[in-house]
C-alpha cells in the first residue's frame, strides 16, 4: 500500500480544534484521511493549524527525504495557506539526543510576519510552490497542489487582526503581476484553482468546493469558517474527482 503525504494548515489538520468553540468535538474525519481511504493509500498527514507555507513545504520535504524508497509514495498534496504567515523551527532533542521531529512540537509561527511586506510574502509563497513542484518532479512522485484558503486578499484589504497600518504598501495589480509570472514557471495543470486568486479567474479550494451561497452548510459556524464534517467530505470528494490531473 502506497503513502499519501499531505501538508497543510488548520483546514487539513487531523487534530483541529476550534478556537471559537473550544468545547466543540471536532474529531470528525478530515479530508486527507478520507482521500487516502478512497485511494487505498496510507495517510501521512503533516498539516498543523495556524501554519504557513514554509512549514507546509518543509514538512513535505523532510518527509520525502526520510523515505528511502520513493516508489512507496503514491501521491503528495500541498494545501497552501495564507502568504503573510511566518514559520520557524525550534530544533529540539530528547534526553538521548534523538531529534524530536513532531511538527506540532517543534514548529512555531507568527500569524503575520513582522519583516518584509506583502509583495515579499507573495513572492516567498510562490517560490515554495515552485520548489514543491521541482521536488516532486525530481523524484517522479505524483503530486497536486492548491490554495486551500485565501492567499492574500484579507491582508491586502487590511482585514487581518493585528495587521499594522501601512504593512501592505502595494496595489492588487502589482500582486497579480507577480502571480502571473509564475504562470510560465509552474505546471498549472497540477494546481487546482490556479492562479489561486479570484481576481485572475482562479480560486482557493474552499471557495471552489463550498461555493459562495452554500458556504454555511459546510463550515462550523458563522464565527468559525473551518470545514465541518460535511465540509471535509466535500473537500475529499472534490480532490478525488480531480485525480485525473495527477
Amino acid at each position: 500500500m502506497k503513502y499519501l503525504i499531505v501538508g497543510g494548515d488548520s483546514f487539513s489538520d487531523k487534530n483541529f480544534r476550534s478556537t471559537d468553540h473550544p468545547d466543540l468535538d471536532t474529531s470528525w474525519p478530515k479530508w486527507p484521511e478520507m482521500l487516502a481511504e478512497k485511494l487505498g493509500m496510507k495517510c501521512i498527514n503533516l498539516a498543523v493549524g495556524g501554519k504557513g507555507n514554509e512549514f507546509i513545504y518543509s514538512t513535505i520535504q523532510d518527509q520525502i527525504l526520510s523515505m528511502h524508497n520513493k516508489d512507496e509514495i503514491g501521491l503528495v498534496v500541498a494545501a497552501w495557506s495564507q502568504a503573510q504567515r511566518r514559520d520557524w523551527q525550534l530544533g529540539q532533542y530528547d534526553t538521548n539526543d534523538n531529534e524530536i521531529s513532531i511538527p506540532t512540537r517543534n514548529w512555531r509561527e507568527d500569524k503575520i510576519d513582522v519583516r518584509g511586506d506583502l509583495l515579499y510574502f507573495i513572492r516567498r509563497s510562490l517560490r515554495y510552490y515552485s520548489a514543491f513542484e521541482i521536488l516532486c518532479k525530481r523524484y517522479d512522485i505524483p503530486y497536486m497542489h492548491f490554495q486551500m484558503i485565501d492567499m492574500y486578499t484579507e491582508y491586502l484589504h487590511g482585514r487581518f487582526k493585528g495587521q499594522s497600518a501601512g504593512s501592505v504598501n502595494c496595489s492588487e495589480s502589482e500582486i497579480l503581476k507577480i502571480i502571473m509570472k509564475y504562470d510560465a514557471t509552474l505546471d498549472t495543470s497540477k494546481f487546482i484553482g490556479w492562479p489561486c486568486t479570484e481576481a485572475l479567474g482562479g480560486s482557493p479550494l474552499n471557495r471552489i468546493v463550498f461555493g459562495e451561497h452554500n458556504m454555511n452548510q459546510f463550515v462550523i459556524s458563522e464565527e468559525d469558517s473551518h470545514p465541518n464534517a460535511d465540509g471535509q467530505v466535500v473537500i475529499a470528494d472534490y480532490i478525488y474527482n480531480n485525480m485525473h490531473i495527477v
Binding site: 531529534e99 515579499y120 525530481r138 514557471t185
Partner: protein, 258 residues
C-alpha cells in the same frame, strides 16, 4: 556565451564596501567576475552583503526562472553564508536592480540555532533539486562558516545579539548540530559541494578559513597575516583573496561538463 549565475553574501557582493574602512576603494574584481572571465561566460552576480541563505537561494531561483532557455545557463554557484541570518524583501525591487529590495537581520529573532541549521540544509538541497531538474551544472560551498562563528561570537546568553568574543563553541548544541549535518551527508550530493560539510571537525571547511586564513586562528587580526584579507579589522577578501577564491574554484571545475 552562456551565463554564470552566482549568489552569496559580502564575500561575493560585486559592490562590497568595507564598514571598517568606508573611504577605501574596494572596487577590485570579485571572484564571480574573475571566474566568468576564465570560463568565458556572462556573469550574473547576485551576491549581497549581510544576506543569508534564503536570499542566496531565492535570488538564484528568481534568475533561473527569469531565463526562458535554461540551456543558456552554463553554471550556478552558491557561496553559502551563516545560518542565523534572516532575509526578507520590501518594496518593488526588480530582478535587474541591485539588492532587489532585500534586507536581513544578522540574527533571526525567531527559532534557534538547530532550527536555522535545518533551514539552511533544506535550502542547500533545494538548490540541488532545482539545478538537477533544469539540467544546469552547479556547485555549492560554505563561503563563511554555517554556525561556528555564531556560537563563538553571538550566542552568549548574557549579551544576546552582540559580539562578545567569548570563545565557547562547545555549547550544548554543538554535537547536535554536527549530528544533523551528518544526516544530510546521505541526502546531499556532496560531490557538488566543495568542502562538504563545511565544518572542520567533520573534515570539511568554509572558504573563509581554508583559502584566506586558518580556522585555528580565531580573530581577524591573525587571519590578516596570510595576505588575503583587507585589514586587521576587516576580514573580507582583498583583491588577492578574490583572485584566490576564483582560481580555487576554477581548478575544481570539471570544464567538460560546462
Amino acid at each position: 556565451m552562456k551565463y554564470l549565475i552566482c549568489s552569496g553574501d559580502s564575500f561575493t557582493d560585486g559592490n562590497y564596501r568595507s564598514q571598517q574602512h568606508p573611504e577605501m576603494d574596494t572596487s577590485w574584481p570579485k571572484w564571480p567576475e574573475l571566474l566568468g572571465e576564465k570560463l568565458n561566460m556572462k556573469v550574473i552576480n547576485a551576491g549581497g552583503s549581510g544576506q543569508g541563505n534564503e536570499y542566496i537561494y531565492s535570488t538564484i531561483q528568481d534568475v533561473i526562472e527569469s531565463i526562458e532557455d535554461k540551456s543558456q545557463i552554463g553554471l550556478i554557484i552558491a557561496g553559502w553564508s551563516e545560518c542565523a541570518r534572516n532575509d526578507f524583501q520590501t518594496g518593488r525591487g526588480k530582478l535587474s536592480e541591485e539588492r532587489y529590495g532585500w534586507s536581513s537581520e544578522a540574527i533571526d529573532r525567531t527559532g534557534n540555532i538547530l532550527g536555522w541549521v535545518k533551514r539552511s540544509l533544506r535550502i542547500f538541497k533545494n538548490l540541488e533539486y532545482m539545478c538537477q531538474y533544469y539540467h544546469i551544472p552547479y556547485i555549492q560551498f560554505q563561503m563563511i562558516p554555517l554556525f561556528v562563528d555564531y556560537l563563538k561570537y553571538h550566542s552568549s546568553s548574557k549579551f544576546p545579539g552582540t559580539r562578545t568574543f567569548q570563545l565557547d563553541p562547545y555549547t550544548e548544541y554543538y554535537d547536535l548540530i554536527l549530528k544533523k549535518i551528518i544526516e544530510y551527508e546521505k541526502i546531499v550530493d556532496i560531490s557538488k559541494f566543495i568542502g562538504w560539510p563545511g565544518v572542520e571537525e567533520l573534515g570539511g571547511f568554509a572558504f573563509k578559513y581554508e583559502l584566506l586564513g586558518d580556522a585555528s586562528l580565531s580573530c581577524i587580526e591573525d587571519q590578516y597575516k596570510f595576505g588575503f584579507t583587507i585589514s586587521k579589522q576587516d576580514g573580507h577578501p582583498n583583491a588577492a583573496g578574490q583572485v584566490k577564491i576564483a582560481e580555487y574554484l576554477y581548478d575544481r571545475l570539471d570544464i567538460n561538463v560546462l
